[in-house]
Symmetry: C2
Subunit: 410 residues, 2 copies
């Protein structure tokens, strides 16, 4: 095995051990593009070595996805086959580990009828409700990672030959994931510990508001619900098994209070969503709800995204990432949310991660009253800039600088 | 598109139009190795052009299949997930077209515990009963085709470089399927008509027995049930849509009378079954049942194959293929039943194709009494040789040479 091949195997092992922490006797579901079959095989080997009961792979293919959206009969986008739901319900109920190898042509669905995309997202959202609820509450360990495809690498490095672009993207991914040929698992632990230090400080401050401001036009007041807590790095499943939902990750995050976000928020990077690129966009938010959205590119896709259900126009995540984070410093626009969100402060519209104490046994209505947003969607979008300032306001009114010039003030 | 790429697209179109005869509004399921994704994409394009409602792809991968058999927990081989059965039951019930792109490393499961393979085949057999019954009775159109994988091509042409072997195998496949750069669909129709001429003659003779004999030791008397008919080339679904279950195909076939096959039958080519190569084998058959089986290579796999259920040790198909058929004349051992069976007279042990008049509304017991064999398996094995003679014996005792020196006598 040459160097890069060994590093890929190290990455797969990191994902299986730290990302999912596969337990003996547990099944693993890998979601992976057919183009990345080699990587699915590496993950499979690592999983069986860790005592995995059985590996199931759900393959995808950009070409077939696009062909379906372009050419299938119009009403297929209103349905999900019952066996697909049965699969998701079944594997999530048993607590199988869930790996998503996210790698797609960022513009794969460019030119597709947005109504088809939207209807299918709604149909899938309804059909996958149980599964998503279990995922958002860490009922099972899940991990999102990425490996290059030809089309994705070409979009990131348009001036390179295909093979060079793929290799370059591999190198950047491995670097971002701290897979350096040493002990990737050890590196990851150290990194996770660093994130936990920020988590602890933020939890100690227990801010009531965060006030975002920059020269691009962002001026947003975000209330954090009573009882919120920050998270980041390794997390725990409901059963107490430590895992890491994103590899790489640079963020610490919590949820905003559903109906108390106000002002204007301007995106700082393009957002790849539903196979389309949305760029140069902003939201006006009033009492938590996005009341105005505008994008120079992908406006129709953006407006559809915040309209799939009521909760899609409310926020579900507040995440802090230093402007000087290693991924950000690469200067690369990855056109892949896993990387771009970890290079930038971001929010998500849609479903909230329930980073809130005292939620046990509460109904959806009760949780909503506590400030938790519910939706079938959860879309991160990047807002970090070099001049971003975030001021924390405590319950006693004290103001504390949280971000100054795009980076943590503490 | 260069020549070979155009021919591949022609092959895909042939499969969609003649193999499956996709109807407007019908769904298509493609079963395909991830390594052959390009071909699945060609078939998908052809299907949507033909008005297909939606294409679903079930991907497979030799590496993952082998890893599972080697490393998964022991009891997974006794189970099939309920959503897998629901999928097969669902798509078959709606009459979706079914394409199997059969391409595997012939020795993919070499060294795997045969007990695991056997238990899994039994579990799958039970879980797919409804689906298989619908397939065997042409409730939906189905087609088996093949395209090269690297491992398969290397097994067929062990002395060639991988890329050369793949190209050579492509050329042989395209030739066997009459895809010559002219009108592949037209060629196929003509070929199917030729097969129908043999079908008509055999049906007219309405033989009671076929007596097989050659120097290799074959001496087998096969009774054909009353009301049997021969088939070959294009067939019809229950709904009356013409399709072709194998591309290529050179065979005409019917079913033997379940309990009236007697003698010895010697295989003339290796059989690839459950990822293992079985070679130099023979069966002793008494009153329809295989009472002795022996293989120089793969003996354990062979014995397991005829033991998955009671019907596995009875025959379910009698097929005639001239020794001078084009595929046979290539002189290539394909190590893939789709090709090898179409280069050689063959039988199958296991489930019978119900090539029998008056079966409508009959119970399994009644059909068994008529001579139909039932099993969860159906495995073709090759017995044609250059010196094979087959004598037909009519109900009045008249003898008619059917095969002389390996070829049709008429």
């Amino acid at each position: 095995m040459n160097d890069i091949e060994q590093l890929k195997a190290d990455y797969a092992e990191l994902i299986i051990k730290e990302g999912l922490n596969i337990q003996k006797g547990q099944r693993l579901v890998i979601n992976c593009p057919v183009e990345c079959a080699d990587f699915a095989r590496l993950c499979t080997d690592a999983a069986y070595s860790a005592g995995c009961r059985e590996v199931l792979v759900r393959w995808s293919d950009d070409y077939l996805t696009r062909a379906r959206f372009l050419h299938a009969e119009n009403d297929v986008f209103d349905h999900v086959d019952p066996w697909d739901t049965a699969f998701l319900d079944g594997v999530s109920e048993e607590g199988a580990a869930w790996l998503a190898v996210h790698a797609e042509n960022p513009a794969n669905l460019n030119g597709v009828d947005p109504d088809r995309i939207n209807r299918y997202q709604i149909a899938r959202g309804k059909a996958t409700e149980k599964f998503r609820q279990r995922e958002m509450t860490n009922y099972f360990p899940w991990c999102v990672c990425s490996v290059p495809t030809g089309a994705w690498a070409a979009a990131v490095f348009p001036d390179m030959e295909k093979e060079d672009a793929i290799l370059k993207l591999w190198e950047e991914i491995l670097k971002a994931c701290l897979v350096d040929g040493g002990n990737a698992v050890e590196n990851w632990h150290k990194h996770s510990d660093e994130l936990h230090r920020h988590v602890e400080m933020l939890n100690e401050y227990n801010f009531r508001y965060l006030h975002y401001k920059n020269a691009a036009g962002t001026d947003l007041m975000v209330e954090l619900p009573e009882g919120h807590f920050w998270a980041g790095g390794n997390e725990n499943t409901q059963g107490g098994v430590q895992f890491s939902a994103n590899i790489p990750t640079e963020e610490v995050f919590t949820l905003p209070k559903r109906d108390s976000v106000n002002g204007k928020i301007v995106a700082s990077k393009p957002l790849v969503h539903n196979g389309n690129i949305i760029s140069n966009f902003y939201f006006i938010v009033k009492d938590g709800r996005i009341i105005e959205a505008h994008a120079e590119e992908g406006d129709e896709i953006l407006k559809a995204a915040i309209s799939v259900d009521e909760g899609a126009s409310y926020f579900g995540e507040v995440a802090l990432v230093p402007y000087d984070s290693p991924i950000s410093e690469s200067g690369i626009l990855f056109l892949n949310t896993l990387f771009d969100e970890n290079a930038s402060c971001h929010f998500a519209f849609g479903e909230a991660y329930p980073c809130l104490k005292g939620t046990d046994g509460k109904s959806e209505e009760e949780l909503k009253a506590m400030g938790v947003n519910f939706s079938m969607t959860h879309v991160d979008f990047m807002i970090g800039t070099r001049d971003l300032s975030i001021t924390g306001i405590r319950h006693d009114g004290t103001e504390v600088p949280v971000f100054v010039n795009g980076n943590f003030a503490f």
